[in-house]
């Protein structure tokens, strides 16, 4: 049995220690907002927070997640009203949307570290997240907008 906390809920899972965190989140736990895109940490669709740091869950074995706190897109905000989620709606960012959970989780980790990111900060923090629909221009605008919201007193 491997124990970890996902979105504040303790989980005890009977899975192999080498199983990637991604598949534990999606299947036994059943949270499907975290996506499989490449399996080799190249696309970022599976990005979650592990003890607050953004990681590609497709290459994190369960043995490395044991005892840690995982946050997925479903746990980012209890009402889905994180400044990034609101900014994403205001900027009408998603197209197909498949990569967007990962984009938002990477952006959330960035804003937690740098409340007022520059374009260069965004380039660096979001470099691991591919979007095939090409929403990058709006992703950038939404991150700046969310940062402004936070400065303006939003959570």
């Amino acid at each position: 049995m491997i124990s970890l906390t996902v979105n504040g809920q303790p989980q005890q899972l009977d899975v192999a220690p080498e199983m990637p965190l991604l598949w534990a989140i999606r299947e036994p736990i059943g949270l499907t907002g975290t996506k499989y895109g490449c399996g080799i940490a190249q696309c970022g669709a599976c990005t979650v927070h592990l003890d607050g740091a953004p990681v590609r869950s497709c290459i994190i074995p369960m043995s490395a997640a044991a005892g840690k706190k995982v946050t997925t897109i479903e746990g980012l905000d209890p009402k889905s009203e994180h400044p990034l989620q609101r900014a994403w709606i205001e900027e009408q960012v998603p197209q197909c949307g498949y990569c967007q959970s990962g984009q938002i989780m990477s952006a959330a980790a960035l804003l937690a570290q740098k409340p007022t990111p520059t374009d260069a900060d965004i380039d660096a923090a979001m470099a691991g997240n591919i979007c095939r629909c090409g929403t990058y221009q709006r992703v950038r605008a939404a991150i700046h907008r969310a940062a402004a919201m936070k400065r303006g007193g939003a959570r």
């Binding site: 899975v15 192999a16 199983m19 990637p20 598949w23 999606r26 299947e27 036994p28 059943g30 949270l31 499907t32 907002g33 975290t34 996506k35 499989y36 895109g37 490449c38 399996g39 080799i40 190249q42 696309c43 669709a45 997925t72 897109i73 479903e74 980012l76 905000d77 889905s80 990034l84 989620q85 994403w88 709606i89 009408q92 960012v93 998603p94 197209q95 197909c96 949307g97 498949y98 990569c99 967007q100 959970s101 938002i104 965004i122 380039d123 979001m126 470099a127 997240n129 591919i130 979007c131 095939r132 629909c133 090409g134 929403t135 990058y136 221009q137 709006r138 992703v139 950038r140």
Partner: protein, 713 residues
């Protein structure tokens, strides 16, 4: 869905006149038992409940293009519905109700959402609005002409009376469906063509993880399968040893299917582990020695042979024979794979008397027909739920992944989701054809083209799929080349077919994706040879192509064509028609000493006829630019020993955020019939960029991808 509504839908299905195209829904059966009380459903596109909720059924799969919003905008506008009361559902597979009225198939590609349905959707919603007005007029005993609507409410201004749509559903449901309702005038539109009028309905669920894609389908007792496929196209299973695979924890069964050997397991991880332990011996078939080197070598030979004439105006060969100055060039483009963010997948549950498919498909009708064929069930026993699509780009019009799921479920006797890995996706795709192209132009003393000869060698998507006759010119292979917009008196475009056995598919903008690159590069070569400005040179030749000319002029004007640029930055331009729309792009590009290309800015002008959803037009131009730039800069699928050599994003790279240019979109409302938008933003991008590279460096890129061309120069 209740049993009553299933029965009712079956009745409704039978009520539609087929072949009539624009028949506006069906009369409701007067048998009260067959009706859903409290619901006004004048046709298959919309229903209104007593609480005023308008539920719209979208036939076009949502693959990112915004169909789940744009279609409701059309309906809501003609219905005069309150946007906050709109709900949208995805249509089930039912070609009798939901086939595209132009193609006759319930399959979506070719940027056909709005342009093929706008008239039908508008009339269908206008009919419903007229019935609501009629119902209110009867209720108030006033002439129908005195009855108007505001969003969600019918109004009789002389008496100040109002009724909500929800209050009228029972009465409206009893009325006949008008066949020629009055449409709104353009100035009456509330949503269509209005800035900020309607936010995307699918965005909230795409920012908190609730959106359900094919990969996310959950069912009781669902098993997951991964299929080992022959690495060589056309190869087959000779034998396999499943002993080790079956010993993997969680693996249930190993079954042979059309596309390989499926390992069926309790979870995706177990299926992948089981697959790694599986041993398959392949009969690799006739393509086992195929390589990119051989293809390129053979193309260079075939280009010297006459092709089938796709377009002939005047006598280009005679004009070239007598010409003083001839300009020649050869262009090559590679195979490309779509690389949808969501790898291919589908779920099926086959039982003795029914089959249900859940799939992220562009082709619900084809999925249903495929499942019926594979199971032997009548189509009425096959239901298809179209989930959200994690990208489509043409790849999801194919039915290979449907075949996987149906066959595996049938063999396993359980509901099964077949999940592809990224490697499966890149190595078992339906590829944009690689082509080899030659141009010869005769130019007069002023550098004006007197003759244009273009021969294209490559595969034919339509012919390979049996959708066009063998030994004809494949329309998809020459689109964007045979319809050259420039006024050149002698024009000949030829096509030489060469099918390598590599599966071919419709890759966002299809033939125009490569043919705009080659033609808009070569016209640029002619302009520079004439020492003319490439914009003015094109413009002067577009006298018979006013819509091309208008977008070209707008893009040039908005980009500041001719104005000074910073040192180290070049500017290029290109224009193309595809899928009913006209697009022109100006690219600003810098090239680093190490060959690194940076596209700083793209200015796009688009004429898609009547523009319905302004923000999603911009989104499609932004997305089209990224899709095109990824291919132009990096995209190349190569083969060796019959195998695709690329496997994942490390060797088939995608544009990332730091490389994103600023994309500015300018929309022309030409008042013409609506055109497509998913594809038309792609074709001019690559040539605008390579023309800018030439303007900056003097290096003409004649082989894609650019990165490789610059490195090998």
């Amino acid at each position: 869905m209740t049993a009553t509504s299933v029965t009712r839908r079956a009745i409704l299905t039978g009520g539609v006149a087929l072949g009539a195209g624009l028949v506006l829904g069906f009369r409701l059966p007067l048998d009260a038992a067959a009706q859903t009380a409290g619901v006004f459903e004048p046709n298959q596109w919309l229903r209104i409940d007593r609480d005023g909720i308008v539920t719209i059924t979208s036939s076009v799969p949502e693959m990112g293009q915004g169909s789940m919003t744009t279609m409701p905008m059309v309906i809501a506008d003609e219905l005069d519905a309150d946007w906050s009361k709109i709900k949208v559902e995805q249509a089930p597979a039912n070609p009798k109700l939901y086939a595209n009225p132009v193609t006759g198939a319930q399959a979506y590609g070719g940027s056909r959402g709005v342009r093929d349905h706008l008239a039908l959707w508008r009339k269908s919603a206008a009919a419903a609005r007229q019935m609501l007005r009629e119902a209110a007029a009867k209720e108030w005993n006033v002439p129908e002409t005195e009855v108007e609507t505001e969003p969600g409410v019918v109004i009789h201004r002389p008496s100040g009376r109002t009724l909500l749509y929800g209050q009228l559903v029972d009465k409206a449901a009893q009325l006949p469906v008008p066949q020629n309702p009055t449409l709104k005038r353009k100035e009456q539109f509330r949503y269509m063509g209005k800035e900020g009028a309607a936010a995307r309905l699918d965005v909230p669920m795409k920012v908190d993880g609730k959106a359900v894609y094919g990969m996310d389908v959950k069912l009781p007792g669902l098993l997951v399968a991964s299929i080992e496929r022959c690495p060589v196209f056309g190869g087959t299973v000779q034998s396999f040893d499943a002993t080790a695979a079956k010993a993997v924890k969680g693996v249930r069964q190993v079954v042979k299917v059309t596309n390989g050997v499926a390992v069926v397991a309790d979870t995706t991880w177990a299926a992948l582990n089981g697959r790694r332990a599986l041993k398959v011996t392949w009969d690799e078939g006739p393509n086992a020695s195929l390589s990119t080197a051989r293809i390129e070598h053979e193309y260079a030979r075939l280009i010297t042979q006459p092709g089938k004439v796709a377009k002939k105006t005047g006598d280009a060969e005679a004009a070239l024979a007598g010409a003083g100055t001839i300009i020649e060039a050869t262009y090559q483009v590679p195979f490309l794979e779509h690389a949808c963010m969501e790898p291919m997948n589908a779920t099926a549950h086959v039982t003795a008397d029914a089959c249900h498919v859940w799939a992220p498909t562009q082709n619900p009708g084809g999925s249903q027909a495929t499942a019926a064929r594979l199971t032997g069930l009548p189509v009425e026993r096959v239901s298809v739920t179209t989930t959200l699509l994690g990208g489509g780009f043409g790849r999801r019009g194919e039915i290979d992944f449907i075949t996987d799921a149906v066959e595996t479920s049938k063999a396993a006797g359980a509901p099964v989701k077949v999940v592809w890995t990224r490697e499966d996706d890149i190595q078992h795709g339906f590829y944009r054809p690689a082509t080899y192209n030659v141009f010869r132009a005769a130019v007069d003393g002023k550098g004006q083209p007197a003759a244009w000869f273009n021969r294209i060698v490559g595969g034919g998507i339509l012919i390979q799929k049996g959708r066009a006759p063998a030994n004809t010119v494949d329309g998809a292979a020459v689109s964007g080349a045979a319809d050259l917009p420039y006024d050149i008196p002698n024009l000949q475009v030829e096509w030489v077919e060469k099918d390598w056995g590599v599966p071919l598919g419709f890759w966002r903008s299809v033939g125009s994706s490569q043919n705009a690159f080659i033609t808009e590069s070569f016209i640029d070569e002619l302009a520079h040879a004439a020492k003319a400005d490439p914009y003015e040179y094109r413009r002067a030749l577009l006298g018979k192509a006013p819509r091309h000319k208008a977008v070209l002029e707008l893009a040039a004007s908005k980009a500041g064509w001719g104005s000074a640029l910073p040192a180290g930055v070049g500017r290029g331009i290109a224009v193309a028609f595809s899928y009913g729309s006209y697009a022109a792009h100006v690219a600003e590009v810098s090239v680093a000493p190490d060959g690194g290309v940076r596209v700083r800015r793209i200015v796009c002008a688009i004429d898609c006829g009547f523009p319905v959803n302004l923000d999603q037009i911009r989104a499609q131009m932004e997305g089209g630019a990224v899709y095109a730039l990824t291919a132009a800069l990096y995209g190349k699928i190569t083969l060796d020993h019959g195998r695709v050599q690329q496997s994942n994003f490390h060797d088939y790279p995608m544009l990332r955020i730091a490389e994103m240019p600023k994309v500015e979109t300018h929309i022309i409302d030409s008042g013409e019939a609506p055109g497509g938008l998913g594809e038309p933003g792609v074709p001019p991008v690559a040539p605008a960029v390579t023309n800018a590279i030439f303007a900056l460096t003097g290096k003409r890129i004649r082989t894609l991808p650019i990165a490789q061309a610059l490195l090998t120069s």
